[in-house]
């Protein structure tokens, strides 16, 4: 630093001298280095940034907000409260393809009283596998990591692999026969029930 400032003062005041002092060389070298690095980074970075913008595009994709679907009729539910799995039929979008009126998921429904229905999501809150009804144990079983739940979706194995009970869904039985369920998906692997966005 000191060296540089002292050689600065030795330079001819007009600055038109042909001789290049070591200070000027180092300054030009510094400028050239910086310029090369900056421009080189920019040249590589520009396409990279454009690429990254399109790569990050999936973050902007939001799921459809949960809405009510007609899933079944009350008559279809066993009187004894045995759960039954019903598909939810709606449009499914897979990037550029739109599938009209196809299953987009399923729900478990069961009677819990006269005209009362309980709906549980089939997705295991642990790792997102699909839970099945296990008639032998009269409860639910996730085939991936053997988490077990009772008919109300409470965890029955201790310690449970699942961080929370099965996710209950909102049900509406307008007119006492058609069963409508608010179909939503929740984040897996966490103790709180957070709707996927």
């Amino acid at each position: 630093m000191e060296n540089a400032s002292s050689s600065d003062s030795n330079r001819p005041p007009c600055g038109c001298g042909r001789s290049k002092g070591p200070a000027e060389e180092s300054r030009r070298g510094f400028l050239a280095n910086t310029a090369t690095v900056v421009l080189g980074t920019a040249a590589l970075g520009a396409p990279l940034v454009v690429g990254l913008v399109s790569f990050l595009n999936p973050l902007r994709h939001k799921r459809q907000a949960g809405r009510f679907f007609r899933v079944a009729t009350l008559d279809a539910l066993p009187e004894d409260g045995t759960p039954r799995k019903f598909p939810v039929i709606a449009d499914r979008q897979d990037a550029w393809t739109l599938y009209k009126d196809v299953p987009i998921g399923s729900v478990f429904l069961r009677r819990v009283g006269p005209g009362q229905v309980k709906a549980l999501a089939v997705i295991c809150p642990h790792a997102g596998c699909v839970i099945s009804y296990d008639a032998t144990a009269d409860g639910f079983l996730c085939p991936c990591h053997t988490a077990r739940f009772d008919l109300d979706g409470r965890r029955t194995d201790e310690p449970s692999k699942s961080p929370r009970p099965m996710d209950e869904l909102e049900v509406d039985v307008p007119g006492g026969n058609e069963v409508w369920v608010k179909f939503q998906q929740f984040q897996t692997g966490i103790a709180q029930k957070v709707v996927k966005t």
Partner: protein
């Protein structure tokens, strides 16, 4: 000629390089273990070559990925072998890198100045794991989609960023077209590129390290040709192993090469999904549940901490005790991995439900070429429709879903379905001569295979078979055989068609003697004899129409009426939406039970 050689030499410096190679020596002696790097290079070349040819035939989208792999596997000459070599060599690379890493740690050659060599090998291992994971999804069959979905789904457990990471990894909120194209890029461009760069870096770091510790040997054997030849022998061993694995299931038939499962269903989940062998240990660890609920600790924190610990090994190993610690850690991890993998395999083997579902997956996968060839090709709507309307697969699946919690399906075949304690008759071969012979056998009628676990254990039928019928048959043993033939003929089972035709005379004789009417119509109805309401009708017993009827409503007077034990009515009404199963589903189920499905003529 010499002029040409000189010209090439002066422009490329090739001669100088060759002379240096010839002068290079090996420290110590020529050894097969020293050829590991060369074998890795060969393995990479093998993967690159087979990978390029696979990529030429692969179409990554949710409507074409499985279809294009199907085309390779079943309709392209040598396509199955190409897949198998690529798959097996990938597994071999992981094993080789594991061996290499363990060797480095045991010999302590990760210490200065070889830290970077060790790290590049460690990273090569991680990149290879990434290649295995990303490659697994590309087949887009039941297992690959479900298992990958579970793995990528674990990202959601990370607080705050989980959902965003999942969307980035899957290239959208759900698995689909973009997930496949992204994983294809990862598997064919990004990760192989990283692998190649790391291989080159490793070579460079080895050179630097050898120069740094002045270990350039001056008296050992020459590298060329002794060690080079040994290297080639190592490569040939790898080739032999890879081809051995690829051809392990033979060169013909459904199971040759690497299995291709049934196509992935966009919303259904494959219940028997399991990770690949390399991840079974981690899977078993997460299943232990030693950290309670949640997946962050077993899936992210502990494996992450282990990777960090491995990265620090060169520094830990500077102390004598640290080196011992590193060795113990590696051995414990290896042992633990093997133990947990075996534990998972043993648990799965003992789990009847899992075995039935696994077999279901195998059957569905093996059935696809049959169904597609029968149809003449894959319909534009996709191959799943063919599978969903096939009794052999869909019927069996319906049985697992709706019947197997009470009924077993256990016979001499591999297709057994047995969830545990059964509470209803074994339905394997229902209506066949063998099945009816067992039903009328006083020793078997109240066993687990028939009425042993039902309310009928103390019923009239069991009492009758054990006492009266046993005595009657003792007096007229010929009646027993004729009765079985005649009753079983009512079922008109496809598998018994030839036997029934062969025994047509005896069956007619039984009818003339009115055996069924004589023995059974005190309780059962048979054509005009007997009456309904006390026991199931025997007219057309176990026929397609009869079996559909009993599944629709077993409490119908034609079947068990008010005496029905616990069996549900699966289609009590004519309104499909109110029934547990649709008419078509019941048909599929019954056709499967009766073994009535399409098989190609050999």
């Amino acid at each position: 000629m010499k002029a040409l050689c000189d010209w090439i030499d002066s422009r490329t410096g090739l001669g100088e390089w060759l002379r240096r190679c010839q002068a290079a020596r090996v420290p110590g002696r020529v050894c097969l273990c020293r050829s590991l790097p060369l074998v890795l290079v060969l393995a990479f070349a093998l993967q690159a070559i087979t990978g390029v040819f696979l990529l030429m035939r692969y179409c990554p989208s949710s409507d074409t990925a499985w279809e294009s792999v199907y085309w390779l596997q079943y309709e392209t000459q040598g396509g199955w072998l190409l897949r198998a070599i690529h798959h097996c060599c990938g597994q071999a690379v992981l094993v080789l890198l594991g061996l290499y890493l363990v060797g480095i740690i045991l010999r302590g050659t990760y210490r200065a100045p070889r830290e970077l060599v060790f790290w590049s090998v460690l990273l090569l291992g991680l990149v290879t794991l990434g290649l295995l994971l990303s490659g697994d999804l590309l087949a887009w069959d039941e297992n690959s989609r479900s298992a990958t979905l579970t793995r990528v789904g674990f990202l959601q457990a990370l607080p705050g960023v989980g959902e965003s990471l999942f969307k980035l990894a899957a290239a959208g909120p759900e698995f689909g077209n973009l997930t496949l194209s992204q994983f294809t890029t990862l598997h064919t461009v990004i990760l192989p590129g990283a692998f190649l760069v790391l291989l080159l870096l490793r070579w460079w770091f080895v050179r630097r390290a050898t120069a740094a510790d002045d270990a350039q040997p001056t008296d050992g054997p020459f590298y060329w040709p002794g060690q080079a030849l040994t290297g080639v022998v190592g490569c040939l061993i790898l080739l032999a192993v890879v081809f051995g694995l690829a051809l392990a299931h033979g060169t013909t038939g459904q199971r040759r090469g690497v299995v291709l499962g049934a196509p992935a269903d966009p919303v259904e989940f494959y219940d028997a999904a399991r990770p690949e062998w390399a991840f079974l240990g981690l899977y078993g660890f997460s299943k232990l549940g030693v950290f309670g609920s949640g997946t962050i600790v077993p899936i992210f924190v502990i494996p992450g901490a282990l990777v960090c610990l491995f990265l620090l090994m060169p520094f830990i190993g500077r102390w004598r005790l640290g080196h011992v610690f590193n060795i113990v850690l590696v051995l414990v991890l290896l042992g633990g991995n093997v133990y947990l993998s075996c534990k998972v395999l043993a648990e799965d083997r003992a789990d009847g439900r899992h075995q039935a579902l696994l077999r279901q997956g195998e059957l569905a996968g093996a059935r696809m070429p049959v169904l597609i060839r029968r149809h003449g090709g894959i319909p534009p709507a996709g191959p799943l429709g063919l599978l969903h309307d096939d009794p052999k697969v869909a019927g069996r699946k319906l049985f697992i879903q709706h019947c197997a919690s009470c009924h077993d399906y256990v016979g001499p075949a591999r297709d057994d379905i047995q969830f545990g304690e059964s509470s209803a008759p074994n339905l394997f071969g229902f209506g066949s001569r063998r099945w009816i012979a067992g039903l009328l056998d006083p020793k078997q009628v109240d066993s687990d295979h028939y009425f042993g676990n039902t309310a009928f254990k103390r019923g009239e039928m069991v009492k009758f078979v054990k006492q009266e019928l046993a005595e009657l048959f003792e007096e007229a043993p010929e009646d027993r055989d004729l009765l079985i033939l005649a009753l079983s003929a009512e079922a008109k089972l496809p598998a018994q068609r030839e036997a029934d035709e062969k025994d047509a005379k005896r069956i007619a004789e039984a009818r003339e003697l009115t055996l069924i009417a004589d023995y059974c119509t005190d309780c059962h109805q048979f054509h005009e004899e007997g009456r309904l309401g006390t026991a199931p009708e025997l007219t057309g017993y176990a026929s397609r129409e009869w079996t559909i009827g009993i599944i629709r409503n077993p409490a119908d007077p034609r079947f068990y009426g008010k005496r029905n034990d616990r069996m549900q009515a699966y289609a009590k009404t004519d309104d499909e939406t109110k029934n547990l199963l649709t008419s078509r589903q019941i048909e599929l189920l019954v056709d499967w039970l009766r073994g009535d499905w399409y098989e190609p003529e050999q």
